[in-house]
Symmetry: C2
Subunit: 108 residues, 2 copies
Amino acid sequence: MKQPRPKKLARAVARYRALGDETRLRILHLLVGGEVCVCDLAAQLDITQPLLSFHLKTLRDADLVRARRDGRWTHYSVDPGALEELGGSLSALVREHRKRSTLAVKCC
Amino acid sequence: MKQPRPKKLARAVARYRALGDETRLRILHLLVGGEVCVCDLAAQLDITQPLLSFHLKTLRDADLVRARRDGRWTHYSVDPGALEELGGSLSALVREHRKRSTLAVKCC
DNA sequence: TTATTTAATCAACGGTCTTTTATATGTCAA
DNA sequence: TTGACATATAAAAGACCGTTGATTAAATAA
């Protein structure tokens, strides 16, 4: 498989890193059903408000979620694009592995 | 989407965390063509030997790669199972999002 | 305006992860 | 056996991340 472009690699790293936290993965699952406001997320997560805000920012910075302000409230939703890109590159990696593993290239 | 089982969630977190590092993602891409020995990985990565060993252990602990000893050398290869499980849960998340996002559930 | 509510930001602490240097283990060749 | 080579492990330092408590900003209600 050709080596990933630096830019793309860095983006993938940032996204995997964002996914590598239990609270953030939970948030993502809460959002998968559609937009949820921060107040409702807070009600289900049992963490302090600033901490939730921090995790949401982390997910935002990785483009995994989007925020929409509506008066006093802010609604978050998943950004399917980033997830698809990640899932796609994972699948491609597995496919590539399958294809090449039959060829049994010797190394040392 | 139903909330993920604690055990499965923890495994996913550990794996995303393992993927959330540039060196380790590089290693995975180097391995996708088939088994590679540590010496060849070292030649392509420009990091110290103990550090490479550390990253390989991290990937092993996440079940993302397997090690096979062959005399003096150790060959690493990707473990497709873990990658498939990750990719699958990502795709499921995206699919679920697509399905539900048309229903537009109101929150606050 | 003033008070209240929702959410984001800041500073600081503690813990975990990465990185380095040094050492150990295991395997083969001489 | 001894020496050389390939890789793993240990200990310590530094950087980074998650968490908390206090504060701020923005929007509405009184």
